[in-house]
């Protein structure tokens, strides 16, 4: 398990770029076969995303939650943990923020930060629970996380229905205005798109992710555990607490995703029978980004563009839903299965490097 996880931790830039191209070409072929104009479809996609300030704003809004869950999954991957439970942590973070937003009344400068903080911590604790089960009870994180996702969903529904949802409703009342993290003026500037602080905190989280992992002792321990838990343990690193810490931090990222969804986008929460699946999108995003924070940022942007833009593909270019799904899926597939691309690129790259070597030795001879 940890071996293939660590193999995913290698960042490269060329490979994803080529992969996206492959995916686009492949998707184009599928559309051609289906009798649709791929150029028009991709143009519609781009138009949908960049067509107006409203669309740009809504695309950013689409990117925000998957950026957070992508960071969550990627962070855990770095320690060799597969956090499939970002979904549950997202829900718990959201629910906690909703409670603070509705039940507590404070001035804005306290209320919103408190709601964000509480949501983040609750998401983190939910993740830590999964980490605890892995470290001390030997429950594989994938199993426990899948179960905890359901528990999170239904626990959250129960709490909402019991304490917040009004009679005759499926959703909570709106959070207090003081807890909102929407940015009104920016929304207006973006043609009414739902803009909030989430994306900015997301960008800060990208930086934090990097600093935490590569600049601190904690991150060093965490990466050591991720690459080689045996050696880490032999070197005196407490692998168990590292798992817990990792899942705690991972859960905090996921929790933030949920927090900004409720405080910034909806302002209320719905008791729903199924999760929105942002945690699973996060897995794809983390894979796309090679578990590197900058990569995850780009992965989230790509995923967000495709997700939001795909509506344009079938609305403007009349490409049917099924084909759009294939196109989007194949782009993501090609990016994620980068080993295929690497293999395809390898002869080219190695030829280049041998040329270089030849060149170098020729220089050497000349000198």
């Amino acid at each position: 398990m940890s071996k293939w996880i660590s193999s995913l931790n290698q960042p490269t830039a060329l490979v994803p770029a080529v992969a996206i191209l492959f995916g686009l070409v492949f998707g184009g072929i599928v559309m051609l076969l289906g009798g649709f104009d791929p150029i028009a479809a991709y143009a519609a996609l781009v138009r949908k995303v960049f067509g107006s300030s409203y669309d740009i704003g809504e695309t950013i809004r689409t990117i925000t939650p998957i950026l957070f869950t992508g960071l969550a999954v990627g962070f855990a991957f770095r320690a060799g943990v597969f956090n499939i439970g970002a979904d549950g942590q997202y829900i718990i973070g959201m629910t906690a923020a909703t409670f603070v937003g509705i039940k507590i009344h404070l001035p804005a400068f306290l209320h919103a930060p408190l709601a964000v903080l509480v949501g983040m911590i609750c998401g983190g604790l939910w993740g830590a629970l999964c980490g605890y089960l892995k470290a001390y009870r030997g429950v594989h994180e994938v199993i426990s996380a899948i179960m905890l996702n359901w528990i999170a969903l239904f626990l959250s529904n129960y709490l909402l229905m019991k304490f917040l949802v009004e009679e005759g409703q499926q959703k909570t009342p709106n959070i207090d205005e003081t807890a909102s993290v929407s940015i009104g003026w920016l929304s207006e500037a973006m043609g009414g798109a739902r803009m909030d602080w989430g994306i900015w905190i997301g960008l800060i989280s990208v930086a934090l992710f990097y600093i935490l992992l590569w600049r601190t002792k904690q991150g060093y321990d965490l990466r050591a555990v991720g690459h080689n838990p045996d050696a880490a343990q032999a070197a005196g690193i407490n692998v168990k607490t590292t798992f817990m810490k990792t899942m705690m931090i991972s859960g905090m990222f996921a929790g933030l995703g949920g927090v900004f969804s409720v405080l910034g986008v909806f302002h209320y929460q719905v008791a729903s029978g199924a999760s929105e699946g942002y945690g699973f999108d996060g897995i794809a995003v983390a894979l796309l980004g090679g578990n590197h924070p900058v990569g995850i940022l780009f992965g989230a942007i790509l995923f967000g563009l495709l997700t939001y833009g795909s509506a344009g593909m079938n609305f403007d270019a009349n490409v049917p839903t099924e084909i759009v799904r294939i196109v989007i899926g194949s782009i993501i597939f090609f990016v994620a299965s980068h080993s295929i691309i690497t293999k395809l690129l390898k002869p080219m790259l190695s030829r280049r490097s041998t040329n270089k070597r030849k060149g170098a030795s020729a220089d050497g001879n000349a000198g």
């Binding site: 959703k171 739902r194 509506a311 080993s339």
Partner: protein, 369 residues
């Protein structure tokens, strides 16, 4: 050595990736709304009986009132093939296209956050009317309608008090009352089940009406209630039905969306092994889909008729913005199907009797259990 390991690694990754795509797959119908049936030569709009020969079939060629008018709809998370109100609404729009020549299109929501941009999408494309299907559209429709006071909206199952929004609500409790009467008079074990999707007010209206109907004609019958907690989990519906039938219930009224299909599956299995059990369907005449072997009757909710009527009003320039239409028995918005081969004449007479009493106001059907 390391290179060799790469192979299982990449295979593993592809498997994971595939799993993710599958996991998000059912939801991916998501944003990828439907291409307008009018323009799609593919078979993806299978519900369309007209199958226009050319992509431009719906353009001015049609002589009807809808020519050049555009009506769009945004589904809720159930998607357009939910065999329930989304599908009924879409069927209504397709009828609008065939009979009145309007262009119609839908977008399927994957996430709650899609409602607003999808509604906006239709508005920006100059649609004459945009439908939001489902009670979750309340806030989204409010916001988009406020931002676009000149656009027209219509909602099903929820209401928004704005001059450019027409809302259609149904008195599910009244229709449920009538199928409750059928159940109360048909049961032999005096044990009747109710399987709901999620314990939401709109579903509880079904439960309340149904219980009241049963109690009116058969005070000894006991109604067991089970909410499976999801609208898209047939397996949960099947489980719930199995335990109810095992406990001696011989009729189950189901109001659980896709989860309800599991109830029918269980009933059919039992029928095949020689046990006679009944299901009362919901929203549409479900005997058409699941057959008369197990379908006792259905509580129809005529979303299609309502969607068609309101859309048609818009085509005719008679949009009633700000109005909340509540469709009950009196308005023909809910009720039993025309044909009920499994229900005896006597019972149907009783149903008519009570129906009149409700219409006349003699009986008030509760909305909460």
């Amino acid at each position: 050595m390391y290179k060799k390991r790469m192979k299982p690694v990449s295979v593993m990754m592809i498997v994971i990736m595939a799993a993710i795509l599958v996991l998000s797959g059912c939801g991916k119908k998501a944003n990828n709304g439907g291409a307008g049936a009018s323009a799609s030569p593919s078979a993806s709009e299978s519900a369309s009986p007209s199958a226009p020969a050319s992509p431009s079939a719906s353009e001015p060629s049609s002589p009807a009132t809808g020519a050049g008018k555009k009506v769009g709809m945004v589904t809720d998370l159930g998607g357009v093939h939910d065999k329930s109100f989304n599908q009924q609404a879409w069927e209504a729009l397709q009828k609008l296209k065939e009979e009145d020549g309007a262009s119609v299109k839908y977008l399927e929501s994957k996430k709650d956050s899609d409602y607003i941009p999808f509604l906006s999408n239709f508005v920006k494309d100059g649609y004459d009317l945009t439908w939001g299907i489902g009670f979750l559209f309340q806030d989204a429709a409010t916001q988009v309608a406020k931002q676009n006071p000149n656009a027209k909206f219509a909602l099903v199952d929820t209401s928004v008090d704005l001059p450019n929004v027409e809302s259609v609500l149904f008195k599910e409790n009244e229709g449920s009352y009538l199928v409750g009467i059928v159940a109360g008079l048909t049961t032999k074990s005096n044990k009747i089940g109710f399987v709901g999707g999620m314990k939401l007010p709109v579903i509880q209206k079904f439960e309340a009406g149904f219980k009241a109907g049963v109690a009116a004609v058969n005070p000894d019958a006991k109604v067991t209630v089970n909410y499976v907690g999801d609208f898209n989990k047939p397996d949960l519906g099947k489980l719930a039905a199995a335990s109810m039938y095992d406990a001696g219930n011989d009729i189950i009224f189901v109001a659980a969306g896709g989860s309800g299909n599991g109830v029918f599956t269980e009933a059919k299995q039992r029928f095949k092994s020689g046990k006679k059990v009944w299901v009362i369907g919901v929203d549409k005449d479900q005997s058409l889909e699941f057959g008369n072997d197990v379908t006792l009757t259905s509580m129809m909710k005529k979303v299609d008729e309502a969607v068609y009527k309101v859309s048609k009003d818009v085509l005719n320039g008679e949009f009633q913005g700000g109005k909340v239409v509540e469709l009950g028995l009196a308005e023909g918005g809910v009720g039993l199907p025309k044909d009920n081969p499994n229900v005896s004449e006597d019972i149907l007479k009783k149903v008519d009797e009570y129906s009149q009493k409700i219409i006349s106001g003699e009986i008030k059907v509760p909305t909460t259990p």
